[in-house]
Symmetry: C2
Subunit: 155 residues, 2 copies
């Protein structure tokens, strides 16, 4: 379990999809506008999310992305795992072959911690996150702000 801003971006983007589900396909341009993540970077992330079967893509005009499963059935852990490399070749990972055959003293500890993090993030669905008051409020602000920016752009 690796934790980086990459995973955060992916989760944020997925939450955006979840918040606007039922409105038809969401374009990455919209997500980019609302969440302030660059379009090209989003494309990279969504390529992975698609391969992980977390989103469906609809091409052509009027196209975009939508969640493949309902938000109640997608855990945060899945999203994070989808965008991070499966098993990084950092020393002391999985195969326990750090220190040339021997195992480093803290090895077991990190394995436990990884499990702990995974457990935590698996227990939380996208739906649960967007139900929170806090998220609802931020989302509300983002919507109005985005509409304003939209108007300005069209002038």
């Amino acid at each position: 379990m690796k934790l980086s801003t990459k995973g955060r971006y992916a989760v944020t983007a997925m939450l955006d999809l979840a918040l606007h589900s039922g409105e038809g396909p969401i374009t990455l341009a919209e997500v980019s506008g609302r969440q302030h993540i660059s379009l090209s970077y989003l494309e990279q992330l969504f390529a992975r999310l698609r391969k992980a079967n977390l989103v469906d893509s609809i091409r052509g005009p009027g196209g975009g992305y939508e969640l493949k499963r309902p938000a109640t059935q997608i855990s945060v852990a899945e999203v994070v795992l989808a965008v991070n490399e499966p098993i990084t070749a950092t020393r002391c990972n999985g195969k326990a072959d750090c220190q040339g055959g021997d195992i480093c003293l803290s090895h077991q500890l990190w394995t436990e911690l990884s499990d702990q993090i995974y457990q935590f993030l698996s227990g939380i669905t996208l739906h649960q996150v967007i139900q929170r008051d806090f998220v609802q409020q931020v989302a509300e602000r983002q919507n109005t702000r985005f509409q304003e920016e939209d108007l300005i752009a069209f002038r």
Copy 2:
């Protein structure tokens, strides 16, 4: 709470000190030999551990480092925090000022996760780790191996 190999190295080194406490000051050269961490890198790490009041240094011949407090009173979390930058200026950290004033959707989630990780690592002392059979065995192997290498080096 940041998780990197740097923190792992620090914990491994501290466990080494804990395992050899009561034998007087331990030189970084010994730790380097047993844990296969480069001496210069250890110097960097121990500079921070010293500033964090986790180890005492004894200069001059026969000197080295020892734990400032007994291993039962040092948590893994303290060690990790000591070597990682206090609060990295990565977007979405502490001040919640990502997205230019607004807060990103997943912000709250990561705060919770950080707390979770911190709780887990705070609950574990260096002493608890070295009590484990697994660690004892690895340590035993390391001792014999180090002594062999030592002999070879002196030939």
